[in-house]
């Protein structure tokens, strides 16, 4: 029994130590987005490589030098979790780790025991990518209270901002005591596809449901988010159309995004000239890093900007080989 407790403790402590070091280095600036696990590994002199694997998700080996191998064949959230799990093997001093699908479905916090090293690496991955302080920071910025954070649609949006899968987050919320074990089981019965479908509201039907559907509002202002090329960004903004101001998306399109849907919905008020909510859905389509900026102006005077919406999107999909950052640094060196 205690060997498992020790494994969970070791994984937790290692993740906490790294966060303490990272926060000290960055001056503890509150973030609103995901922990960049690939950048962290690159910066640690551990070789990180993506290859097209079969059933495996990833591996860690220390053979003359430490290296982490991650499959190109899964979603970014799963690639990030796999990389964090392998990083766990590395920082916990394990010699080797070869990991398949099972890392996604088992939990070190529940019933049932398995290999202690795997349990320690799983704990590390969860605590590294989903530390309680980061969950609290995001919830605070979004205005999600204790009741809200138990709703499946909110948990899904939180999982996107943390860059993890819905399932992984639900398990970790239970670990942090934010959800009870019973609540987490109920939340897990919800279909993520239904949550996505509801957000897209029949305006768009994705050809591939592995895409993520982000709901963005002015609460996401100035955030930096990590997303995938096929993801949809449903942006909901208040529009002062009564005063002649309309949201202008020229810069969104210039930055390389496609507007796939654009609607207006009256906010609950019968007054003539009351505000409306403008809901537009954008998609990046290809990997690139850009700011998504929309401005609320009067059509006849684009210099009079009543409001601006601005977020930074890093749209990425790791290709075979080193990370893009590693390649660019090696070429510049």
């Amino acid at each position: 029994m205690s060997v498992y407790r020790d494994a969970i403790l070791a994984g937790t402590l290692e993740a906490e130590q790294i966060h303490a070091d990272m926060n000290a280095a960055s001056g503890a600036s509150p973030s609103c987005g995901a922990i960049d696990v690939f950048r962290f590994i690159d910066g640690r002199d551990i070789l990180l490589l993506f290859q097209k694997l079969g059933g495996l998700l990833g591996a860690f080996m220390n053979y003359q030098r430490p290296g982490i191998l991650v499959t190109t064949e899964r979603t970014l959230a799963i690639q990030r979790f796999t990389a964090a799990h392998e990083l766990g093997h590395a920082v916990l001093g394990h010699d080797v780790g070869i990991d398949d699908e099972s890392i996604l479905h088992r939990t070190p916090f529940g019933q049932g025991h398995y290999n202690a090293k795997e349990m320690a690496a799983d704990t590390f991955a969860a605590m590294f990518l989903m530390p309680e302080f980061l969950i609290n920071e995001i919830a605070e910025k979004q205005g999600w209270d204790y009741a809200a954070i138990r709703r499946p649609e909110i948990i899904y949006q939180l999982s996107l901002r943390l860059g993890v899968s819905f399932e992984a987050l639900v398990r970790t919320l239970a670990r942090h005591g934010i959800l009870s074990a019973h609540e987490s089981m109920i939340v897990l019965t919800h279909s993520v596809k239904q949550l996505k479908r509801k957000l897209l509201d029949q305006t768009v039907v994705p050809t591939d449901w592995r895409c993520n559907v982000w709901e963005l509002t002015d609460r996401d202002m100035d955030c930096s988010l990590i997303a995938e090329p096929k993801d949809y960004f449903v942006v909901r903004l208040r529009e002062m159309s009564g005063a002649g101001y309309l949201w202008n998306f020229d810069q969104v399109i210039e930055a390389g995004f496609q507007i796939v849907s654009d609607q207006r919905r009256f906010l609950t008020s019968d007054e003539i000239g009351s505000d409306v909510e403008r809901i537009f859905t954008a998609q990046a389509g290809y990997p690139h890093s850009a700011s998504l900026i929309a401005e609320q102006t009067r059509p006849w005077d684009s210099t009079d900007v009543a409001a601006q919406f601005r977020i930074h999107l890093e749209v990425d999909r790791p290709a075979i080989g080193f990370t893009v950052r590693h390649r660019l640094e090696a070429l510049a060196a």
């Binding site: 290859q51 079969g54 053979y63 070869i98 075979i320």
Partner: protein, 117 residues
Amino acid sequence: MQPLPSERAALADRLREAREYVGFSQDEVAKKLNIPRSAISLIESGQRRVEALELRALAQLYQRSVGSLTGEVTPAELPEDVAHLARAAAKLTDTDRLELRRFAEFLSSRNPASEGK
């Protein structure tokens, strides 16, 4: 002494494989070495000699030793603990086995320039 045509072809194959393994394009490598892209293409098809300095730069970029590129150093066997775990993992496909071996080879073909870091 001139290398045998087959040796040059083998070197060419290893260079292409090493580049593709870490994800650089011919264009990127050419810019880094300050030579035309066509030169990389010729080197990788065995139609152009590789200068010693170029080979060193390529080894550095691809994170391998010069010896592993020239074929003087033969790849090591899969370490026993990796081989053991690979046998134990249920869902391993042939692709996975191949990729694990390639990765172990890659890690063990350390670039001497980065040693002692």
